[in-house]
């Protein structure tokens, strides 16, 4: 089955490597602040509600104040449910995101 792509793998790899941070098709590790709910994998969100983060967001020092543009799809999950409680503190609100638009 043809995919319609004709570029050689090495050319695709070079093209991906040439993308700028925050471009469509790139991944980023982002914090969804004040989620207040569970966002399952595949959910989409506007970039303004996200911030570039590290993996240590339990305090107030684990993310920057910079938000990306566009539309992002969460490729992991934001928050989780245990029993009847929903947990969505900052340490549970980071994930890998893919810019789709």
């Amino acid at each position: 089955m043809g995919s319609g792509l004709s570029a050689a793998p090495v050319d695709v790899a070079k093209a991906v490597a040439g993308l700028a941070v925050g471009d469509v098709g790139t991944y980023a590790f982002l914090l969804k602040e004040n989620a207040g709910y569970i966002l399952a994998h595949g959910g989409t969100f506007a970039g303004s509600g996200l911030k570039y983060a590290n993996a240590n967001t339990g305090g107030n020092f684990g993310y920057s104040n910079v938000s990306p543009a566009g539309t992002w799809r969460v490729m992991g999950q934001i928050g989780y449910v245990s029993g009847t409680h929903t947990y969505n503190s900052k340490s549970q609100a980071t994930s890998v995101w893919l810019r789709i638009s």
């Binding site: 700028a20 925050g22 970039g47 303004s48 938000s67 543009a69 539309t71 810019r99 638009s101």
Partner: protein
């Protein structure tokens, strides 16, 4: 590209929904500094400007100041000394020392805290209010009095 529900989220960026050819209506942040032009931001912004239907930016309200921030031990001692509550505390310790060893230990150890929290202090006063009133009937130990003293100590900045 069709859009809806556009609103400024600061001086330059606009949140909206766009009718994406593949994903349908999805949330989107239009940032004039965006280097990606998969969505033609220039054309989208021009369409919005022509339609004049982008809601104005509304700055979030200033957060209310915390009137009762955590207090250092030194500032808490100032509060106790200034209000006379320190004498009540001392008398309470003396009273409890012989009558209730566990309560005595609680009260004494509380006086050695590094940081004092308003809610915790109010709770502690409530527990021992009746005994303290017997020891110092003229001292106001109401929540309102504690609140006022706390604010005063914070303002004093000792």
């Amino acid at each position: 590209m069709d859009y809806r529900n556009a609103k400024y989220i600061d001086e330059t960026r606009i949140d909206c929904e766009i009718d994406h050819p593949k994903f349908g209506w999805i949330p989107y942040t239009l940032d004039p500094s965006d280097t990606d032009m998969t969505v033609n931001n220039v054309a989208l912004l021009a369409a919005m400007n022509a339609a004049g239907d982008v809601a104005e930016y509304v700055a979030p309200p200033e957060p209310e100041p915390n009137l009762y921030p955590d207090m250092t031990a030194r500032r808490f001692e100032w509060l106790l000394a200034f209000t006379g509550l320190g004498d009540v505390w001392d008398a309470l310790e003396t009273q409890l020392k012989d009558s209730d060893r566990e309560a005595y230990a609680d009260v004494k150890s509380q006086r050695r805290a590094v940081i004092y929290r308003f809610d915790e202090t109010i709770r502690l006063v409530a527990v021992f209010r009746n005994i303290a009133k017997q020891l110092a009937p003229d001292v106001d130990l109401s929540d309102e009095a504690i609140q006022a003293a706390w604010v005063q100590a914070v303002k004093a900045g000792k």
